[in-house]
């Protein structure tokens, strides 16, 4: 079994196949950007992009991504050059505790790839499943708008 992770092909070892993708990424691949928040797909902290769609890696098994393309937050930047969404996040100083932000950013990237000029309602619809307890939603919205403008 194999899959593509941030542009590189990797095998899925048999002992990790039934493991949640989140743990496979964090503990086997050392990609700790995606976070464990609830293990039930309710908070979005573990969001990664699978074949272009923002998915919850805590309720997706490693075997589920066989032959798929998985993108994590570690794969967004081009070496030192940040992805426009990452830059917008820094310019709006979005993070407080920061724990949910990798998931927020991956949901935002998936949204903008699908819909480069989202309305306010589009943003809300795409982001409502990503919880932030610190209360950064206003800045998240502004950062998505800023990234959309930067890419326009």
């Amino acid at each position: 079994m194999s899959f593509v992770l941030n542009g590189e092909k990797h095998s899925i070892p048999a002992e990790w196949a039934d493991e949640p993708l989140l743990h496979f990424l964090r503990e086997h691949h050392g990609l700790v950007g995606a976070k464990f928040g609830c293990g039930r797909g309710e908070c979005g902290a573990c969001t990664v992009i699978i074949d272009g769609v923002a998915m919850r890696s805590c309720i997706t098994s490693a075997a589920d991504v066989e032959d798929s393309e998985v993108r994590t937050i570690e794969g967004l930047a081009d070496r030192e050059t940040l992805h426009p969404v990452q830059s917008a996040w820094l310019e709006e100083a979005v993070p407080q505790c920061g724990y949910c932000q990798a998931g927020q950013i991956m949901s935002a990237v998936a949204l903008l790839e699908e819909n480069p000029a989202p309305s306010d309602d589009d943003i809300t619809a795409a982001m409502d499943g990503n919880l932030c307890r610190c209360g950064t939603y206003q800045r998240i919205r502004k950062a998505i708008q800023r990234a959309a403008e930067a890419s326009a």
Partner: protein, 690 residues
């Protein structure tokens, strides 16, 4: 008794009650057992070598972004470029610092850091160094460069850790990896931690066939409350739940009478019928008659809801323990672990990691001790991260509270005020002190955390505030702002009702009772930016529109006023459309991040009023996830306008202040839109439906 006097008496009685034995004090992390730092202590936070500086952060970083603000102060005083100062999070090898609680990082740490950095700059200019223990003569604050500049005319630098966060670099305890790492969990009985429980039997054979099974560990660290656990270890984290299922542990649980109805247990009227409540915050002489306002306000339990479940990695090497932890007090954890495992403190190092939200909930030593016990048993590094269900069932929560607030009006002014509350513990909790000691604090001093916010900022001719504590089978503790959020929600909705009955505008009515010029200013300013006086009751189609206002002073040092606009649909569903907040926390070093703290507190205000519940059945929490204990989502979030007062007053905290006025502003808007004065929070939309 004024609050200041009350606290003084409280502190004195505590020393009398507990003595000053270090063993007991070390078990009480939430008490201010360590002095605020001075410049001498701060000299240990900053070091210099070859043109580069290292700032060892004396605080825990958990989202206040205090790292950025303190680095700004250091750079300004040192005259150093942003990149010339590297910030490191502290471990317990540095000199002890206070717990990161109570929004104190700027209030108590900014000036000592500035003094130490200024002294280092002068020494370097003169070709010297500042040696350990060398005396630093603090200079007048006016001579500190970082205290001269206005934060309002410049942008915030890029957040410290911001780049790491947006690129997914390891920052948090669960991100730590060690060679040979395995994964642990401590299972506990599905019962209240007030009830003695322990594992009785389990199916070890079934566990052995789960791929990744590593071991079952009976000696798995201290009990949580009275709940003794059973440890499990696996080579992959996902195996832990499968092992737990396979073991099918049978628990021995003491028979008990569960607290079947906690809301009835704390019902304030039930207690008032039996006489007056034992603890006094304000003791105005009042007669129980002729009240113009007589309001009952009840709040449920609330979880912290931080997105990061607590996590730790522990490793023993040659009898020495190292723990990577996301805790609000690394030193308390070090002392606790040394005590529990019977090793010298010098053999335990706790490395603080960035915390993914704490809000008062990450003070006790729990997951750290679990990881250390399992690591010792399997002689490998062990990572433990609680499941969301463990967070909800094993951590402590904001206590529910039941309030009765009464007021008498004379000539359009409140002539008598009475706030009575029954709740549970916030500082002297089951986590902090043993039950016998809590019985003592209950008798002697009550709990100043529960009482916070019952002192009133208004000039009332007579005012009384009293409360009672009930120990509950669901453990309670510190939550953002301690008692201030719930107490001020009750008090500021009663004040709003008083304005209505007096026939006065709620803003003018408040102003008429305020003598403090800073409180007056924030109230007038928020009225101005929200165009309060230009607004009127209106409907938008069938939707009902309402505005509400509230204000407060937090810990007698910071000032806030909030206006909320809402609309309600036929089903009683509330949409908050806009919130305005004016905030005065004295001198500001990073205006953008103070605003971020205000936004966070308004988010918590929305949660308190709209959704913060926690299901409890037979005296224990039965929640499993965010769907049972919700936090606000983006679609519940209004536009927010934050207005900071530019001030040269002494800088104080901003991390909890806006929770004094946000919830009541929303509740008062609901009253204005519907005519219904809600008495239970979170609100039930069906009670507001047309």
């Amino acid at each position: 008794m004024k609050r200041r006097t009350f606290l003084k008496v409280t502190g004195g009685s505590l020393v009398a009650l507990f003595g000053t034995g270090a063993a007991i004090w070390s078990q009480m992390p939430v008490l201010p057992t360590r002095p605020a730092p001075d410049a001498q202590a701060a000299a240990g936070w900053i070091s210099h070598k070859d043109g580069k500086y290292i700032l060892t952060l004396p605080r825990i970083e958990m989202g206040q972004n205090i790292t950025t603000s303190l680095k700004q102060i250091a750079c300004t005083e040192l005259g150093a470029a942003w990149n010339a100062v590297e910030v490191k999070l502290h471990n317990t090898s540095m000199q002890k610092v206070r717990s990161t609680v109570g929004s104190e990082s700027i209030q108590y740490f900014a000036e000592p850091l500035a003094q130490a950095c200024a002294a280092l700059r002068d020494a370097l200019t003169n070709g010297k160094t500042v040696r350990d223990g060398e005396r630093i003569d603090p200079r007048p604050v006016g001579e500190l460069k970082s205290f001269q500049r206005s934060a309002f005319d410049r942008q915030s630098p890029e957040l410290v850790h911001g780049r790491e966060i947006v690129t997914g670099k390891p920052l948090y305890a669960a991100d730590i990896h060690r060679p040979g790492l395995v994964y642990g969990r401590v299972l506990r009985a599905p019962s209240s931690s007030e009830v003695t429980s322990k594992p009785k039997s389990w199916n070890i054979n079934a566990a052995h066939v789960v791929p990744g099974f590593f071991g079952v560990i009976e000696d798995c660290g201290p009990a949580i409350g009275k709940a003794t656990g059973l440890g499990i270890v696996a080579s992959r984290p996902g195996a832990l739940s499968l092992i737990a299922d396979a073991l099918d542990v049978e628990w021995e649980i003491d028979t008990h009478s569960p607290q079947s109805d906690i809301q009835t247990l704390i019902n304030v009227d039930r207690h008032l019928n039996n006489g007056s409540l034992p603890h006094t915050v304000l003791e105005g002489p009042l007669q129980d008659s002729d009240w113009d306002i007589n309001l009952r306000v009840d709040l449920s339990f609330a979880s912290h809801g931080q997105i990061e479940p607590r996590a730790a990695v522990a490793e023993w090497i040659d009898g020495q323990l190292k723990v990577w932890a996301g805790t609000q007090d690394a030193f308390f954890h070090r002392d606790f672990l040394a005590d529990h495992f019977g090793v010298p403190k010098g053999d335990v190092t706790v490395q603080s990691c960035r915390i993914g939200g704490a809000f008062g909930g990450k003070v006790p030593c729990s997951v750290e001790a679990e990881a250390a016990a399992l690591a010792r048993a399997v002689q490998r590094p062990v990572k433990v991260q609680w499941t969301r269900e463990q967070e909800l069932t094993q951590a402590y929560h904001r206590p529910p509270s039941s309030h009765r607030v009464k007021a008498r009006l004379d000539n359009g002014r409140v002539s008598a005020w009475d706030h009575q509350q029954v709740s549970s513990h916030v500082i002297f909790t089951p986590f902090a002190i043993p039950k016998w000691l809590q019985s003592g604090t209950d008798l002697a001093v009550g709990d100043p955390g529960t009482a916070r916010g019952m002192e009133t900022a208004y000039q009332f001719a007579r005012s009384r505030a009293q409360y009672q504590l009930e120990r509950l089978s669901v453990h309670t503790g510190a939550w953002r702002g301690l008692g201030a959020g719930p107490n001020m929600l009750a008090a500021e909705t009663a004040m709003d009702e008083a304005a209505r009955i007096a026939g006065m505008d709620p803003l003018d009515f408040r102003l008429a009772h305020i003598s403090d010029p800073r409180l007056k200013t924030v109230l007038e300013r928020v009225g101005s930016i929200a165009n309060w006086r230009g607004s009127a009751q209106r409907t938008m189609g069938r939707k009902r529109f309402g505005r509400g206002i509230a204000c407060g002073i937090y810990k007698q040092v910071s000032y806030v006023a909030t206006v909320a606009d809402i609309i309600l649909d036929d089903d009683g569903e509330i949409t908050i459309t806009h919130m305005w907040c004016t905030h005065d926390c004295g001198r500001v070093f990073n205006a953008d991040q103070v605003k971020a703290q205000c936004e966070g507190n308004l988010a918590w205000s929305i949660g308190m009023v709209l959704c913060a519940g926690l299901p409890v059945k037979d005296g224990r929490v039965v929640a499993e996830g965010f769907s049972d204990s919700p936090v606000p989502i983006m679609s519940q979030f209004p536009e927010m306008t934050i207005d900071l007062i530019e001030s040269s007053e002494k800088p104080v905290g901003a991390g909890e202040t806006a929770l004094m006025s946000g919830p009541a502003a929303i509740a008062n808007a609901v009253r204005s839109a519907t005519g219904i004065r809600a008495s239970r929070f979170p609100l039930e939309p069906k009670e507001l439906a047309l």
